[in-house]
Symmetry: C2
Amino acid sequence: MWLGLDLGGTNARAAVVDASARVVATARAQLQDRSPEAVADVLAQAARSALQQAGNPSVQGCGVAVAGQLEGDRGVVVVGPNLGWRDVPFAELMEARLGCSIRLVNDLRAAAWGEFHGGAGKGASDILVVFVGSGVGSAAISGGRLVTGAGNVAGEFGHIKVAGPEGRRCGCGERGCLEAYVGGHNLSAQLREAVAAGPTALAALCNGDVDALTPAHLEQAVALGDPAASAIFERAAELLSLAVANYVTVLNPARLILGGGVLSNVPALRARVEEGVARFSNANARKSVQVVDAALGDDAGLLGAALLGAGTPGR
Amino acid sequence: MWLGLDLGGTNARAAVVDASARVVATARAQLQDRSPEAVADVLAQAARSALQQAGNPSVQGCGVAVAGQLEGDRGVVVVGPNLGWRDVPFAELMEARLGCSIRLVNDLRAAAWGEFHGGAGKGASDILVVFVGSGVGSAAISGGRLVTGAGNVAGEFGHIKVAGPEGRRCGCGERGCLEAYVGGHNLSAQLREAVAAGPTALAALCNGDVDALTPAHLEQAVALGDPAASAIFERAAELLSLAVANYVTVLNPARLILGGGVLSNVPALRARVEEGVARFSNANARKSVQVVDAALGDDAGLLGAALLGAGTPGR
């Protein structure tokens, strides 16, 4: 049995995975205090609870999926934006609590690995995963191996530049990143700006409470023909679909796996991405690729983390 | 000893490579008739000539670098644009002539593999090679393995889209490809268009013979402050530098290897690409990457083809 853990910005989740890559038990706990020690306590508690449900099997390996920049070999979270962490030796903290060796893995790579082994990527060995949620990220599998990059930061798709120095400011501090236009937080910010700028159907859709605006309102306002919402949608759709299509051109995956809250809550945007791949990617690459939705939801990251923690060959 | 062959649009080249990945003999022959049988004859002749110089060693494997879309496993050139080939079972033709097993490899991947083993990529295991010559292409090595893609067409960097449906027409038949703006043939076409459109220093630089215009004239005219040339240069520099920077962001290579006639004949463009990587790629990816020039020239493809023909592990 292997243990897969997932550290989000608000939740800690755990899963016990068996030798057939099946999730046999899960548990979840809410993060309160975000200090590394407190987070490690909560995550260890979730792990113990999942293990207990599974009958306390012995654990051969444990992977922890974390959003952010990691030094996996040293077990350090270099930058964990959701938790405000810098240089946290988190593997060490978890090892002390769980007594087994811990491997930290990027959350999107964990999800890609999970989908590859047990979800929408099964049977393919060249896979591109693109998630558009509050952030925008990607992970690629080439010939059955994760593309990690020289500095372990490959796949930072949300931070490719799609606009010049006058572009929107991104959470990463730079300007013109794709995420600044299509990430969930930034879409919501654009909706608030639209309400502030003039009459738009968005104001009524959120009953005047602009802080309640989400990407789902964007879909509704576009369906109503609202010009302000349509302009935001159009720009996001153009930038995202072109960028994904070009990514498909250079990587030539067999499967493009789409996921994340924005794509599931704004189906019109999901449709434009699929259309963009068909229209803008290179003819040869287009022939190989099948566009599919992520199939395992939250379990993908847990499964992938467990398998990577177990040292699945090919990573 | 291994044999590396390279099939260009006008030349056939051959090299004998020893067990230390050193090129010990080379030969070259001009292609006349472009029929597959005739081309195979000329290439086999070059191979025999190189082997003779090396003292006719026994050959353990042979790789042939070919520009175009290949089905390597079947040994077929699906589309060979330089030779006007479609579905040519070229490995078979070469096997009949040389009596050893033949592996067809994409020319840019062969060059990348050669640079990786004996040139500008030595010591790195995550490498991105971008060549801007008459065409624009790329090859990536991730964790010491070539990224081939599901349909063996990964790396078609010249055919990412950088402009909409109104964009320039590319040799591939589509519109708005990067190659349509920065590839050598297309740069020359833009220079001819500039001369036709109005007064420009380009007319004097080519002594009125617009068919003699090459990308090197672009560099000269820009240095003279010519507005028409500067506009062409500026657009090419912006599109190329941004695209390369974004490629670096998603792949996070340790080494970005630049090559090809356009980049060597237009050093100002080469400089802009390096500057673009520093300015536009993601901060984390930027930290890992070293921008270098291809070191082996024409030998890279021969060496890489020989090593891939030899079945180097890791491809």
